[in-house]
Symmetry: C2
């Protein structure tokens, strides 16, 4: 009768062989990284984790996040061996070894790095860009706490990967939140891609660091099932003390196969003609460990996967959230601003909407990065502290925690200054790749922030986000919908719409007050725009397409153009992507040009409308006003708008130049 350790040893070698075969078949991949995890993965997936292969996304099950995503063949191998349910071509199927051999094929969900969105729900989030998994695990841990589920989230992190600062942001976050349901497993195989890891990433340093970050550590031989089991066995006791466990596992990259150990073997599959020899070396290791005679059947009998303890209760259904005016009435400062100034900042509207959503829907959760008193996420934080997670000054971790919460079915709003969202663009893209509908809110965007200067102004955020906005996600929606409200009502209603939307969104809110333009009942469909001023003439000379703060500048410019005989229509282009066809028709029917006006660097609404116009092949002419020099501090918004040449006067001047360029037959009636 084989012992548990022997069974795990035998299983580790069995899945190691499968992982090597799969990468050789694929002709690429990371077998040596996979081998370093053979025993850890075997112990977790065949013994310690409480889960069901037939239902890998069971909401009560323990989770495994592979932060070092390139090592995934070892997990795929275990999944194939266990017959995990996955979804090739959208249909549920129990995975086989044949399926495993489709690794990295264009038609296979067995992708090069973990990605649940392709049909592999064993994973919660896409990983592969390093350093993000522990944050995702933190998000899953937060969700489990909200749901009152006794679930453990295991996260495997490479030692080279632990150089990424985000890992330490996550270590801080998990400790700060006292999440003892997350276990960090550092896979210390001593090798990065191009070289040995630095001394700073060796197991001794990692242990000292993890302890300095407040975790309890255990150093183990990551290829000895007995000590792995003992280390994992410490978790429950530590959890009772509110302590998180970090296992520092010393491993060998290319375990079992001396020929592929050391430097120079990262990301290199075993050539076909060496495959037998490598598999033979692993068989030899099985002999040396005295487990060569254990049959698959004996392993299957002896290794019993623990079942999830319980399925969490379904949350109460969501109710319709309060409307804008009711929300305003419930907030003294907001009510005063609306009453006296007929204006409110869109970030204040975000705070009101988030709180209203919180009251209406228990799935709503929120994160902010130490600026909740500026983004007004604090309204929610105070009302629903158990669903608010303070991210502190660590935006990368915050976004990935949000992704983890989204993976667990929460509707996660993540706020900070739009400028600091840039810090997490990689994490945002990974969330999108993984099909996780995070709701991002960037405040203080654009140059009207003024006094604080360019290090605080969201300006290049639009170009990046728009790249995702023109990419379809797995729902066929834009992978990112970018929303720039021009007034507090639209801000409020757009936040409510974000919560309903099945895909990722990014709301951009300026710091300052915006005059109210819309009635509470106005709806703002994604992809749409609003005509906020119709030209006096049936044939406007110009269509001004503004976003956010600059919609109001466009309205002022239109008023200034009227005495000059230049009729202007103004639209509020609040959404990217934008269905530009009607905007083009609006201009084309009048022979008008379009001037886009935005207080970001290029790549936003201007590109959106210009691309549509150019694709149509018959105009209209589209010119873009955007920020085209690096801003600086100014004491007023107007100072900085003038500095970057998008003041009302600049808009007026641009229109005058543009209308003068019209074809002669169209110009006559419009100019002075």
């Amino acid at each position: 009768m084989a012992t548990l350790s022997q069974l795990i040893n035998a299983k580790a070698i069995a899945i190691a062989k499968l992982a090597v075969r799969a990468t050789t078949t694929a002709g690429s991949g990371h077998p040596t990284s996979a081998l370093s995890l053979a025993h850890l993965v075997a112990t977790l997936m065949y013994h310690t984790m409480r889960w069901r292969p037939e239902q890998p996304r069971d909401p009560g099950a323990d989770r495994l996040v592979l932060s070092e995503g390139h090592a995934v063949p070892i997990i795929y191998a275990a999944c194939a061996d266990l017959g995990v349910t996955f979804y090739p071509h959208g249909q549920a199927k129990r995975m086989t070894v044949d399926d495993l051999m489709t690794l990295r094929e264009i038609g296979s969900p067995i992708d090069g790095h973990p990605n649940p969105a392709l049909g592999f729900p064993f994973f919660d989030a896409a990983t592969g860009s390093l350093g993000q998994g522990l944050s995702v695990a933190g998000g899953l841990g937060c969700a489990a706490r909200i749901d009152g589920v006794d679930k453990v989230v295991y996260c495997i992190i490479g030692d080279g990967e632990s150089r990424e600062g985000q890992i330490w942001e996550a270590m801080d976050f998990i400790r700060d939140q006292r999440l003892s349901n997350v276990v960090a497993v550092f896979n210390c195989n001593g090798l990065g891609q191009s070289d040995y890891v630095s001394p700073e990433q060796d197991w001794t340093h990692l242990q000292h660091k993890a302890e300095a970050f407040g975790w309890t550590t255990v150093v183990i031989d990551g290829h000895d099932p007995e000590v792995i089991l003992a280390a994992l066995g410490r978790r429950a006791g530590l959890a009772k003390e509110g302590q998180a466990l970090a296992i520092i596992a010393r491993t060998v990259k290319g375990w079992g196969v001396p020929a592929i150990q050391g430097t120079g073997h990262h990301g290199t599959p075993v050539p076909k003609d060496q495959l037998d020899s490598v598999l033979g070396a692993l068989d030899q290791r099985a002999k040396e460990l005295g487990v060569a005679a254990i049959s698959q059947e004996e392993m299957a009998r002896g290794l019993s996967i623990a079942q999830p303890t319980a399925t969490p209760a379904a949350p109460p259904p969501a109710r319709p959230p309060a409307g804008f005016m009711a929300a305003v009435a419930g907030n003294t400062k907001a009510a005063k601003s609306v009453e006296e100034k007929k204006a409110l900042s869109p970030r204040r509207a975000y705070g009101l909407a988030l709180k209203a959503l919180g009251a209406a829907n228990p799935l709503i959760v929120a994160l902010d990065g130490d600026v909740k008193n500026s983004t007004y996420a604090e309204d929610f934080a105070k009302a629903y502290p158990e669903r608010y997670f303070e991210g502190r000054i660590a935006e990368q971790n915050m976004v990935s925690v949000g992704a983890g919460l989204a993976a667990a079915g929460k509707i996660a709003f993540v706020s900070t200054f739009g400028r600091f969202m840039e810090r997490a663009f990689d994490e945002i893209e990974m969330a999108v790749i993984g099909g996780l509908p995070i709701k991002l809110v960037g405040t203080h965007v654009g140059v009207t922030l003024a006094a604080d200067g360019p290090s605080q102004m969201g300006l290049a955020d639009v170009g990046f986000m728009r790249a995702l906005a023109h990419t379809d996600d797995y729902h066929g929606n834009p992978a990112m919908t970018v929303l720039t409200p021009s007034d507090p009502v639209s801000a409020y209603n757009l936040v409510l719409a974000m919560a309903e939307h099945p895909s990722a969104c990014y709301l951009r809110a300026v710091r300052g007050d915006l005059p109210i333009l819309y009635r509470e009942s106005e709806r703002f469909p994604f992809g749409g725009y609003k005509v906020v001023r119709r030209a006096e003439s049936d044939r406007p000379a110009i269509v001004l397409a503004g976003t956010g703060y600059l919609v109001h500048s466009c309205l002022k410019a239109a008023e200034a153009l009227q005495p000059l005989g230049i009729a202007a229509t103004v639209i509020d282009a609040y959404a990217l992507p934008l269905d530009a066809a009607p905007v083009l028709r609006l201009a084309r029917s009048a022979g008008a040009s379009i001037l886009t006006v935005e207080d970001s660097y290029v790549g936003g609404i201007g590109s959106e409308i210009a691309e549509a116009a150019a694709a149509s092949g018959d105009g209209p002419r589209v010119r873009m006003l955007a920020v085209r020099n690096i801003p600086k501090s100014g004491r007023t918004a107007e100072d900085v708008l003038a500095y970057v040449h998008i003041s009302v006067a600049d808009i007026v001047q641009a229109v005058k130049t543009l209308t003068r360029q019209r074809a002669p037959d169209q110009v006559g009636s419009q100019l002075l």
Copy 2:
């Protein structure tokens, strides 16, 4: 006769008062953060640092990097008091208190956050987006080591800020590099913006963390000059042992003024009507410390700033670097590939060019993030190890170290996968804001990477970088020039051109081999393009504008179109920004449409040409092929190109659709 400590106490209070006055005059800013640094800054700037206020960028002088940039008023105050040379309106001037009171004015270089590029060379780099300063200090420290200059770089970091993972990346980097010329000063005032810092950021945890990261720590009262002096005095001895010093300074946010201490005072200037009372409180502190009677003159006499030890020798002048063929000849693998396949990967060309530059110019330095064997930065690393800095898997730190090296006058090339450049977009933008001409090289871009999947493919990089490409920097150049070579010769020559260019650049290189298209003598001016295939007809039906790998796909498509009677011109649009006018003329003169083809998400060459066409008001029609769905792994580049609909067949189909849409009088002669 006042003691040194008394003099520093007196000076700290004097500059504290100036800082408070300046922020009140500006109507915004962070006086409480400034007050927490009064004694540390006074000790450094009036005593410990070896520098000359009249020449703040003296290459031999010690440096001060304020990572928590919002606390800058205390440094501005000292600079005004010391008459630091700065450059309002481009003219050198010794700073006065009147100048200080222009803080945050649109016409003043005394910006809201540190920014040398506006004319304030006391600072080396722009800071303000948190967590980046220690990396910049690391870069300055690396440069000092190359130059053999005995210079110390002090870096002040907020405790709340220390939650940013990049701080810990920098702690690792500085330790890994054994840079003992960098001193980290953690300003532990216990408060972030919205709340107290978490327990994980308190001074005890910071001390334990810094020690676990291999630094020697000293915990001090940051308002006691005697202990500050003693702590700073330990540096020289530790440096002899190769040890870096971290000073954990316990401070008080709003020091000296109880009324503005605690939460709720971050980023809040003292109202004008409370200014006298706040200044009075600081005077009262001077009395309590027994330094109220020390006159400005006595301080000036007693506090003597140490002079820089020596000016570093000027480096030998640069020679012209070797040409492409000579570089190829010096590398066996490259020579074989060129000889046998008439092809070479552009990343290999980067490696060759970087090494050639290294031989020719001692100012060239390089960094890479544990993928130097993939980017071929290793060619340089092996040849010039003293000028190569291994960044490990920590891209944020790597880019900011590069910025620091650039600030010290080095020509810093920074390479990793283009996908992982996204991790450092914030840092890239900060470098650009600070006017630092970093040279970025992103390899493995686009979907042709294939097998590794979307977590490794640079796709959204273009949209972000193009936002900067249409923003003028302080030279009047694009703040970022984006270069996508289509062959190894252009890759090589573009890298040489990047080294010459005074502004920031980003080279995008695919993983695979590219056939040679150009002769070694071909030049690739920024903003230009190349016609790589002229249509058989004088009146091409289509202009195909491709980038990188897809230039070759466009060439194949053009060949496939020829038998269909569709004449195609193909251009290699290697640069963003692009002078699109001649491209439009090329199409317009023939009545042709333009099809742009790129293997990134939208926001690149397609937007570039479409925007120009739309602005011209008279076409031509421009359609864009780009990646519009999230890719996945595929075993071949062709598999993935087809999956995202930019295969040669897709190009051909798009052209057929597009040419069918031409105006009837133009179509006749072209279609079947």
